[in-house]
Homo-oligomer: 182 residues x 2
Amino acid sequence: MNVKTICLAILTQGETTGYDIRKRSTEGDYAYFMEASFGSIYPALSKLEEEAYVTSRTVAQEGKPSKRVYKITPTGREFFINSLYDELNDDVFRSEFLLFLRFVEDLPRSLVEKRVNERIAKCNDAIENVKKLEEEFTKPSERWVLNFGQHCMRSARQYLIDNKQEIIALAKQEDVPARAAE
Amino acid sequence: MNVKTICLAILTQGETTGYDIRKRSTEGDYAYFMEASFGSIYPALSKLEEEAYVTSRTVAQEGKPSKRVYKITPTGREFFINSLYDELNDDVFRSEFLLFLRFVEDLPRSLVEKRVNERIAKCNDAIENVKKLEEEFTKPSERWVLNFGQHCMRSARQYLIDNKQEIIALAKQEDVPARAAE
DNA sequence: TCCGTCATATATAGAGTTGATATATATCGA
DNA sequence: TCGATATATATCAACTCTATATATGACGGA
């Protein structure tokens, strides 16, 4: 799945701008399973316009820079829907947090506790964010996907809460005696 | 987290080759939270050698091509452990499957059912794979991480099983009448 | 025996992507 | 007034992936 496909997917649901595509893919309703940056979105939209899968027009705005609004063409829509019949690539999960945890034996206890708590806090934020999105969405498939996401995040959070003492206990004892000797 | 860091992380646990780093990051014990391809691993190892974070030697093998075995230096080890004190980047999750599911209203029921079953099968494979890995690993932090991964995968699989009929029901009815009219 | 496939192993080119930065306008709060 | 934040487009260097090339040997089937 490349950025062109992501753009087409979002454009299938209505006209929008490169700025908005980026926002939705990093903070909005698409953020939990895809991402794209400006450096890939703008070139992707240009290429899609060359290929006649989208058209664009410039819209002036008061108090804001004028924006370039993209719209999917019938050809583009057809191309996108057809691509949904292709074999799906595997899900990708990457976590610096889990890499970090594999080395807790070499790290001070306070640092490990801090990072685990930060991770739990991020889970909380993400769950709250999805809850808000669910209120906005009415399309049944979108709600199903958001519920699935929320379920997975709650499950991960619960595991962290239930087992955090165990992983923290594996970390190195702090050098408390050294400081006490000062 | 870049590929250089992944290489150092794996090399921290013993000497190995570029080929093996790729294998472990795509199929082995690191596969569930990171990934790297040949095109990034070999250049990364070269740069790490330039920077004196690793050394290499060529080892001839019978019945196999000779291999280049890399070893982390004390400087490299120190650099890696220090980098574990840095702020952690957010976890990344990308799923073509979830993008696909947002468009089930436009897709035939048989295709949706097929893809959901494929996803459940992949979950089963992944869970079995992690179980095997857990038998091999004795380091407590590694087991904790694998258990966490297994917990998350089981939870996702259960949600898919429990709610698959609901999402399949949202898909388009097949064009059975059209075929019957032939 | 020959051929294709698979596994081991290194390497690279081209395409795609990220992360950082530049530019411009406007609002909001300190 | 100054910095931060938000909207909005755009680009570039560095990085990464996908696909391919090269080489060796094992294994199985035709």
